[in-house]
Amino acid sequence: MLKQIEGSRAVAEAVALSRPEVVCAYPISPQTHIVEALGEAVKSGALAPCEFINVESEFAAMSVAIGASAAGARAYTATASQGLLFMTEALFNASGLGLPIVMTVANRALGAPINIWNDHSDAMSQRDCGWIQLFAENNQEALDLHLQAFRLAEELSLPVMVCMDGFILTHAYERVDVPAQEQVDAYLPRFAPRQVLDPAEPVSIGAMVGPEAFMEVRYLAHAKQVQALELIPGWADEFRRAFGREAGGLMHTYRAEDAETIVVALGSVIGTIKDTVDELRAQGVGIGVVAITCFRPWPLAAVRAALVNARRVIVIEKTLAVGIGGIVSNNVRAALPGSGAAVYTVIAGLGGRAITKASLAKAFADAIAGRLEATTFLDLDRQVVERVLAREREVRRSGPIAEAVLKEIGPVAARPG
């Protein structure tokens, strides 16, 4: 059924349609609307049987999900930003134990300075925690990826993180096609766990493993993710057959076939990039897009195949690995066939800074003209930075950095540019 609803609501409906049995909730923007909607569904009886648990922290949220999943229940939670960091230890534990928990991450910046707006720092900080990470481009895909996530998680007995851009998607009202319960039931079988805490067949889960077996256990975690790379495209096909639309898969390309310049990105910014590419194509520029849906496991072969003929690759990153620069671009470099293509890292949109077509078009033009620095910060106010640095050189007690920057900028205002 077509509905004009908020992204969070669309995700909540997808999760509810997936018949979760235990939902753990802890508030953090911009994820709150999702669990609020699920809480209402459980309390009203619309979603039953399901336990909705208001936990005392994200660490507890993931821990409750671990217990529920190990006892054979389909478990779900959602978080963002600081909340994701707060559950880090449990994230590694859930994947290490092979528990098929599904979690939405409403992507948001990480503090300090505390910032509630969108970027990908949270999910990227956990890219190696053993979870499958899927990134949604729009709200329809966010909805669809959640349906796929439960399938994927339970087939592989691995946890899956569905990442959607905070506010940009979670709070945007868009038209989405919400499938019927019968469709989802036909697509998503009941959870049949590979391991379960059951008095009829007692097992010990999570025991200590020494050097004699640890490598093998870790290798299997890797092998399963690699296996996911082979299975995910097939599941996307199956999804298309079941629901009549494209969603998921490892990645997709846009006008990339004969492109000399290819832009790589994930999440909602792909929409803006596609628009920019359309305009450049109209001017005769050979440019295209590789949109990554599955970031972990990293679809190395698929990305390599998509980039093999490119002369230059521009990676738009909504995160910063301090001290080195890009994260996605390092993964892209690993996929490049030594073709000599230049890889540009463009750090953009940190802490919710708007990424505009104009700025993107300029960065792309600079790259094509060979003027773009290998690592660029899109729309960085260099003057402010220089003034702050100068002051730091002069004044020993220069004060909190964020305050200094804000003082230089003057009255805070949204600057869509």
């Binding site: 753990c24 005392e56 217990g67 007692p202 200590m208």
Partner: protein, 332 residues
């Protein structure tokens, strides 16, 4: 035949010979069909109070639940000595997730059971004092506050034993640990710190809170069984001497536990909905010295320079417990 025939009588002790009791009143451990939930062959030190306490507690819980029990275990000695793969001493469904989340994992298990209509299966969470009173405290309090259907058992050996005897918030004053060494003006753990987790548990108003020691194993069994008669959050705090960390002989575990109770340093009681409903009276009060002296962690109180003023402060703690819980039989 689940019980051995009577072979001898015990006399001159407070112990009622188990074999003199009618079968229904006998200890769970006396039953040859006990589940051996924590089976032999594990790697605990000789005389480990935690191993003993866990064995009695879990077997009692199994007996009380018709063998329908799932346990979530925090990281710590109990977890490590019971399970290096592929060996496991656990005969029950058992999960270890992390150090600080056993209560929350148990909440998740209980939720799963409820949603599946399997509420006949009961859930236990267990951990050491560090996993309970320090790092797992947030999850514990959350589980209490939501009144989740979990019995949490803390095996209190008064320090982080698994990592080599460091101070926890359950370490008593003056005790030497690896992080409260017996040096300086005030050797050992400072006075005036630590938390009384049974009292904090009671303050949550949960159905049942009790303390026990491995010196009175029948009492421990009773309290587990009693705890299982309630639904909702319950807490059992078991005093378990650790020969390695406390520096006492491995055959002194029970005696040390008894002295802790008989001196008044460890009050043994049970409480329902935040109110004390029963205390184990002190039978023969002993001065705290008797408890402290056999333990190397308190050796600096007696030699080379005796510190009677410190011992007196510890005695004052015992007296306060005795007053607070009415631990002495009053003949008026």
């Amino acid at each position: 035949m689940a019980f051995q025939p009577i072979k001898f009588y015990q006399t001159g002790t407070f112990t009622v010979g188990n074999r003199l009791l009618p079968p229904e009143a006998r200890a769970v451990q006396a039953n040859m069909r006990r589940t051996n939930s924590l089976n032999s062959g594990h790697r605990a030190c000789q005389g480990c109070g935690e191993a003993l306490g866990a064995r009695y507690a879990i077997d009692a819980a199994m007996s009380a639940t018709n063998n329908r029990l799932i346990a979530a275990n925090a990281t710590g000695c109990l977890e490590v000595f019971s399970t290096p793969y592929p060996e496991t001493s656990w005969q029950i469904p058992w999960i270890h997730s992390l150090f600080g989340n056993a209560a929350a994992v148990a909440t998740g298990i209980a939720a799963a059971l409820r949603v599946k209509g399997a509420s006949g299966v009961r859930v236990i969470a267990q951990g050491g004092d560090g996993g309970t009173t320090d790092i797992g405290f947030g999850c514990l309090s959350g589980m209490f506050e939501r009144n989740d259907d979990v019995l949490y058992i803390c095996y209190d050996n008064e320090a982080y034993m698994n990592t080599g005897v460091q101070r926890s918030s359950a370490t008593p004053p003056a005790a030497r640990t690896a992080t409260t060494p017996a040096v300086g003006e005030q050797p050992g753990n400072p006075f005036g710190q630590g938390k009384d987790v049974p009292a904090i548990a009671m303050a949550h108003g949960i159905a049942y809170v009790a303390t026990a020691t491995v010196a009175e194993l029948r009492d421990l069994e009773y309290k587990v069984r009693r705890a299982m008669e309630f639904r909702g959050a319950r807490y059992l705090h078991v005093f378990v001497p650790c020969p390695l960390g406390w520096g006492h002989a491995s055959d002194a575990t029970i005696r040390i536990a008894r002295l802790a109770k008989e001196s008044g340093l460890f009050p043994v009681f049970e409480a329902e909905r935040g109110e004390v409903v029963g205390v184990s009276k002190i039978r023969k009060q002993v001065p705290v010295e008797e408890y402290l002296k056999p333990q190397r962690r308190f050796a600096h109180l007696f030699a080379p320079t005796p510190r009677p003023e410190v011992v007196a402060r510890i005695q004052a703690i015992a007296e306060r417990n005795i007053r607070k819980y009415g631990l002495l039989e009053r003949t008026t």
